[in-house]
Symmetry: C2
Subunit: 447 residues, 2 copies
């Protein structure tokens, strides 16, 4: 840090006073100024500056106003009313892990949640998992960070935690704090669930614009949990399939269709309050979830080889949108309203009765909506000549019993898409509200 | 293409006359000029313009000189003396697939290679897999492109083909054209190879800066091969672990160390000629491989949980470099020469006798070097609480019998790293030379 410091610009007037919210980029930009050096030291010495010193990005890029590549590199605030990684504009890449708690000691679990929160906060800012970083512990200690993200920018990393129903089974004295909404999902028609891809006491969702940064975050949290937790299943997603902000273009899923056009967006605070965030009077026995949200994950294998041999018309009828533009059938543009009464020239509904968009639409579900945040995956082959590809569905909601369950019930019964998909993994988690500086994940639950 | 054309700059004087070498970006930039519109039409109508029209990148970015994000978006030339994807500066993401040929009809195989070559050429330029694109075949045909990369830029895609030893078993009349260098790899001490991750009649390596573009390329080639080939195994890599150009920073592997510092680089044409490209007099019976290279792939599971609990000194001794800088032990900087005679203060060799860098160094292997082009992977969990993570080793060379085999023999016998890794997949392929416009992959082999 002392050798050849870069010529720094003046600190931005927008730089927050608290270190936890400072991005690694901002620290980089001001690392030569004594005032801010004090702030860095106050946070435990090397921290964000550690990973920064190995940065492979150019100073010019690092100091420019965030846009394009710089925006993809930037840091997201960790603390807030809600956890990051829910309404944060969906990053491009995902690493998701479900874990089982292997200790029966509540204090060990709480200690880990504290350690994890600090590590996640640091990594979100672009720093190593712990202050020692790669080498700070000296030659005879295991490094405090595994190192594979050293030199990479924060990359928009968010780390989001969730608690599964099984965490409330009595091992940790939490049985009477389980929210009623955190019920195991019922079996749906056609489910082909595999135990090795389902459930979990805890989950960690790491999203970033660089997959190496997302993998690094999960790997280091799992490492810090050695002896306390064990990885149950994990899923990489290479491409987002939803937009969670009106600023984002709608991406495409592995069926080649735009996905999530009608998603709840971050800008629609009224819809978020109604459909995503748990309110204080939702559940008297689970007030700790106020400001949190429930996460439903489903691993949906897509039989892409069969899909790829079906006609364009079949594909569009099954989805209910046109393939190229993403417009509702009978409409012209992606964001045209869905007109379910409209007839095609042949007198049949323009959007077929069993089309995915009709069955999943709020008008068919008494107003139910979700915030979808899924990812495309391809995990090798299935052993019989096909790619094991699909959609890792992730959605956030206020109450799965009133949102995901009736929606999936309707889809599982009638959706034409069922011919081409298979749900083989499933889990539900309660994601507690966000933290304030110094708080830990789930502090309200363990209070 | 006719509606609201962007204001184009003058065509670059470097733009080649042949369409196949024209990148989608260049087509975008000049799509308003009649002269070039004719060139586009001459290539079959919609082609590159098809995917372009859905582009989510800004015009400003598309028209700027390639640098930063624009460079990551740009197209790589498909045709050339050598296949792209070997000395091309290693892109960030990988999708690799090995396939078995399921037909016994040589003509069908040749027809597929022709189809594949045109499709790979188109996708490399940022276009759909075939001229019809998503919707050109009309409502009653299956789309000619699966669509998930529609709107994405070329993203530096390269598609590289290889032929496995089993392709020369006599089914296709190729038995007498098998190069002697394309021998099955011998068993190495410690190998834990799984059949479902090994071998294959053919391989396709797709590298890109956007994983969705790499997956799209493999998926569409597999789709085009339905009935002729079947996917045997496939591997995603989320982060490159080698630099293949002096212009690239050295990335880190899942052990957190810089990897491939001493790699053969694209700029060292003498080393490429000596170690990578097959020369015309290498093998009289396999002249078709002149200008080609042999690809060795090894799926190396890393036991990262064990590694993460070892001391920094053990890690650095095993690798032979320091973790933070990547300098040889006893040296100061990453690119310092390896001094194997140097003693540490305790009188022992600074670089231990069984350190990875010592055993893999050319001075220990009679001058043998490889061009490494591997990727980090994380494929879920192993079912007993660990992430299934590691290095998908890919290397290109002139003769595996004289290069990879003796190197791996030395490593398998003595490398301290063996305590932490396990080779569970293996394959070798002959990658034919590059194509000229109109030629197909392996044309010389089937001539």
């Amino acid at each position: 840090m002392t050798a050849t410091p870069p010529q720094p610009p003046e600190p931005s007037s927008e730089a927050p006073a608290e270190v936890p919210g400072v991005s690694r980029r901002r620290l980089l930009g001001v690392s030569g100024t004594a005032a801010v050096a004090g702030v860095v030291a106050g946070a435990g010495g090397l921290w964000a500056a550690e990973r920064a010193s190995g940065s492979t990005t150019s100073d010019a890029g690092a100091l420019a106003a965030p846009s394009g590549a710089a925006a993809l590199d930037a840091a997201i605030d960790f603390n807030g009313e809600h956890q990051a990684g829910i309404v944060t504009p969906a990053q491009d890449r995902l690493h998701f892990v479900a874990l089982d708690v292997v200790t029966k000691d509540r204090a060990e679990l709480v200690a880990l949640l504290k350690t994890w929160t600090r590590a996640a906060e640091r990594m979100t800012a672009g720093a190593e998992a712990a202050p020692g970083g790669l080498v700070g512990g000296g030659p005879f200690a295991a490094p405090e960070d595994t190192g594979e993200a050293y030199g990479l920018p924060a990359s928009g990393l968010t780390v989001t935690i969730g608690f599964g129903p099984s965490l409330f089974d009595g091992r940790f004295g939490l049985a009477d704090r389980r929210p009623a909404a955190l019920a195991d999902l019922p079996a749906f028609p056609g489910d082909q669930l595999e135990a090795a891809r389902s459930g979990g006491d805890l989950c960690i969702q790491a999203c970033a614009n660089d997959p190496q940064v997302a993998v690094h975050a999960v790997r280091n949290l799992v490492r810090l949990g050695f002896g306390t937790v064990s990885a149950r299943w994990s899923q990489l997603g290479f491409g987002r399939t939803s937009s969670t902000s009106t600023s984002q273009a709608t991406p495409r899923n592995m069926f080649g269709f735009k996905d999530g056009t009608a998603n709840v967006k971050a800008e629609d605070t009224e819809a978020l309050a109604q459909h995503v965030w748990v309110a204080s009077d939702d559940d008297a026995s689970a007030g700790w979830m106020t400001g949190g949200s429930y996460l439903v994950a489903r691993r949906i294998r897509m039989h892409i080889e069969v899909w790829d041999r079906t006609s364009l018309q079949e594909q569009e009828d099954v989805i209910g949108r046109d393939k190229k533009e993403g417009a509702p059938l009978g409409g012209a543009k992606e964001f045209d309203a869905l007109d379910f009464a409209r007839k095609a020239p042949d007198g049949q509904p323009a959007i077929p009765m069993n089309a995915h968009v009709r069955l999943a639409h709020e008008s068919n579900l008494k107003g139910v909506r979700l915030l979808r945040r899924g990812y495309n995956f391809t995990d090798g082959t299935d052993g019989v000549g096909h790619l094991d590809a699909g959609l890792f569905f992730v959605a956030f909601m206020r109450d799965p019993r009133r949102q995901f369950v009736p929606m999936q019930q309707a889809l599982a019964e009638k959706d034409g898409l069922n011919e081409y998909i298979e749900h083989n993994g499933s889990a539900v988690f309660a994601c507690p509200p966000g933290t304030q500086p110094g708080q830990f994940w789930g502090q309200q639950l363990f209070a």
